[in-house]
Symmetry: C2
Subunit: 110 residues, 2 copies
DNA sequence: TGTCTATTTGGCTAAATGACCAAATACGAA
DNA sequence: TTCGTATTTGGTCATTTAGCCAAATAGACA
């Protein structure tokens, strides 16, 4: 693989990797609806604050969210709402898999 | 987080995680153009055959590709071409980041 | 200033990932 | 059957990831 191409795929992978975690997907979805502070997200995710904070820094490093300090909270926002479009397709893959699985099960029962 | 919701996010994360690797992204892109056998993909990726084979099994387990044996090769196909739609958005994120980065650099030079 | 709340950071551990090599398998063709 | 090619599997090792706890920081406000 050529160097330039390799670099490009690495950049893409970094973004996808940042999204590829259940808690982070939840946060992305919530942030698409409205901005939230770490505390609120922690509540929603149901993990340690430090854990959530680290997840947020992963999202931030990937450029997926931005943060803004206001009053005594830090509010996070989804920077590129288009990432939500992914989800539709991911769901398609999931249901295709379920379909496939059903087919296999049916075949085995015979 | 509720159990059902957690499960759903885990399913989504699994798909994204399967995509989140440079070599796998390359393979996905190539397979979207046409089916390919392990050998060809190995060549394109430029890694050990066994490594590529394992990447393919990751994609297959996620339900992203399917394989079919023909002649003396195993041909892999992209099952859900819609995953390519992701890339457009990922690229948007990347260029937004680059933009941001440029802005920061400019600010520092002053 | 001192206190409280919100958030991040450092340290540690367990688990997952990715790469390679060597070896095993699968299978078509001589 | 035996050979050779294509592919997968198992082993090993280094790296990364994710979680929690404890401790450090950052500010707001009394």
């Amino acid at each position: 693989m050529k160097e330039a191409l390799r670099t490009r795929y690495e950049a893409r992978a970094r973004i996808l990797k940042a999204m590829a975690h259940p808690s982070r997907l939840l946060m992305i979805e919530e942030l698409q609806k409205q901005e939230r502070c770490v505390n609120e997200l922690t509540e929603m995710v149901g993990a340690d604050t430090s854990t959530v904070s680290k997840h947020l820094s992963v999202l931030k490093n990937a450029g997926l969210v931005s943060d803004e300090k206001r009053a005594n909270c830090i509010y996070y926002t989804l920077r590129c709402p288009c990432v939500m479009d992914f989800i539709g397709c991911v769901e398609e893959v999931i249901s295709a898999n379920a379909e496939e699985h059903k087919k296999i099960m049916k075949c085995c029962k015979k």
